[in-house]
Amino acid sequence: MGILEVKGLTKSFGGVMAVAGVDLNVKEGTIHCIIGPNGAGKTTLFNLISGYYKCDGGEVIFRGKNITGWNPEKILKLGLARSFQVTKIFPGLTVYENVQVPVLFNRGAGLNFFSDAGGMFKDIIDEILSMVGLGHKAHEPAGLLAAGDRKRLEMGIVLATDPKLLLLDEPTCGMSPHETSSTIDLIKRIADQKNLTVLFTEHKMDVIFSIASRITVMNFGSVIAEGQPEEIRCNEDVQRIYFGDDRCFSL
């Protein structure tokens, strides 16, 4: 059984079925990628799984629990964390504080009114910062970071919540080729070290085939193919969506 199972999930906005009966099975320890053209429903699917939207039908089962309709905080507590396509950080706080917030909260210190927060869990925070490669920028204001570093910081924030499953919405969106490859290395390394399952959406084909162990293809709110990268690479339906002819992805 997978760590995350999605059964017949639907969601419509007005008359548009953004997610139309999606089934998905993510196995523990895999790096699972969801691809599909713009508007295929990938981000909506993420919003449904993470509890940001309420679904119209279907169910989401995470670590054996039916989490359909749970609020985001509760889902997160169970170990499902997500990043956003548009990076969400705390711009006015320092890089250190950005990671400090989830670390303190996650260890139940959020309602501590009297201890000095400065030294609390410093080791853990420093470890996360160095893992995402921001140790040397700990005291810079997060709002001044470049796009690549912001993504790293967001990854740090997400990691600080001690997740079992990581939902990454286009983690390399808007990055240069160099930043992209270093981010991919980072995701791989973290998934290995922390024994995480990663579910992510992506547009860049080279990224997908370099790290995904399984791929799901969506179009118009439905899953049209699922399999190993090799199978997907030569799947006719997938090729038709992306290229309109029978060419294979060339790498």
Binding site: S50, P72, E73, L76, K77, A81, R82, F84, K88, I89, F90, P91, G92, L93, E97, Q100, V101, P102, L104, F105, N106, A109, G110, L111, N112, F113, F114, S115, D116, A117, G118, M120, I157, A160, T161
Partner: protein, 311 residues
């Protein structure tokens, strides 16, 4: 640094007293407003909640204590405590109905409405609150009395303000303070860290209301008379201006703003009745040129100098 400030605060009243009792009154007035401004800043500066209704907590604190002293034989200690507790309860009610509201503008509007509601209530309920007559001659025990000198009361107020400020300072640096800042910066992200935004906002709101209530009591006992004016929205506006003037990014910034406001009010009024105009002009200049307030300006200059010295 803290020792120097402490020494100044202890020596100051004796110096001021030589000049005039009035200055001692002003210094005590500043203490009360400074505490109000610092507690307000927990909500606006740290929590990012634009409350336009803090007059309610200041006023309810003052009125609760004053009414108990005037109408009952309640000892001062209990009446004093009842002020902030009453303010915190009102804060819990208003906060509960307001913290869910997203958007600075709507939050300001709803807190303003609730505060005005309380103002009207106090203004109209003559039999209970004395209406627009206000409460005159609040009985204060002789050891605290300001009839002869403000000296005793100054030290009383100083002690309470220092204790409260210390508690607020610890809260601002504690994990709770860090959470609060994260809500100000990005409530959405905070939700996805697992933080229940509403709960944290509400707690901050109630804490702020409590200490605003303490400030209100200090104010009432200093003046020994209060009127519903202190519940009017103008008071909420004043405390926001204090934050802007002094600098909301600094813990003690609003206290500095409070001092500037009280002094401006008192000195400019003695030269011209258009003191609000002067204040307005000063405020526009500060917002335009020193968006971090006077306190922010001082800290910036200090850091620049330190940097130059090091290099």
């Amino acid at each position: 640094m803290a020792a120097v400030i402490g020494a100044c605060l202890i020596i100051l009243p004796f110096v001021l007293q030589r000049v005039s009792e009035y200055y001692l009154f002003l210094a005590t007035d500043i203490l009360a407003w400074a505490l109000f401004a610092i507690s307000f800043n927990l909500v606006l500066g740290y929590g990012g909640m634009m409350s336009f209704g803090h007059a309610a907590f200041f006023g309810v604190g003052a009125y609760t204590c004053a009414l108990l002293l005037v109408k009952t034989s309640c000892p001062l200690f209990l009446a004093f405590l009842a002020g902030p507790v009453g303010a915190a309860l009102v804060g819990l009610g208003i906060g509960y109905l307001s913290v869910r509201i997203k958007g600075v503008f709507y939050f300001a509007l709803i807190t303003l409405s609730f505060a005005q509601l309380i103002y009207i209530l106090v203004y109209k309920w003559r039999s209970f609150t004395f209406g627009d007559d206000g409460i005159q001659g609040i009985p204060v025990p002789t050891w605290l009395s300001t009839d002869v000198s403000y000296l005793n009361y100054y030290f009383f107020a100083l002690l309470i303000v220092l204790v409260c400020t210390y508690i607020l300072w610890r809260i601002s640096r504690a994990p709770f303070g860090v959470m609060l800042k994260s809500l100000r910066e990005n409530p959405d992200r905070a939700t996805f860290v697992g933080i229940k935004v509403e709960n944290y906002r509400l707690i901050a709101f109630v804490i702020s209301a409590f200490f605003s209530g303490v400030a209100g009591v200090l104010f009432a006992l200093l003046q020994t008379s209060i009127s519903p004016d202190i519940l009017f929205w103008g008071t909420s506006g004043d405390v926001i201006l204090m934050g802007l003037l002094g600098g909301m990014t600094l813990f003690l910034g609003p206290a500095l703003g409070a001092a500037i406001m009280v002094l401006l009010n008192s000195f400019v009024t003695s030269y011209t009745e258009y003191w609000a105009l002067c204040l307005g002009v000063i405020l526009i200049l500060i917002v335009l040129f020193f968006p971090k307030g006077v306190g922010g300006l001082i800290v910036e200059r200090y850091q620049e100098r330190k940097k130059r010295k090091n290099s």
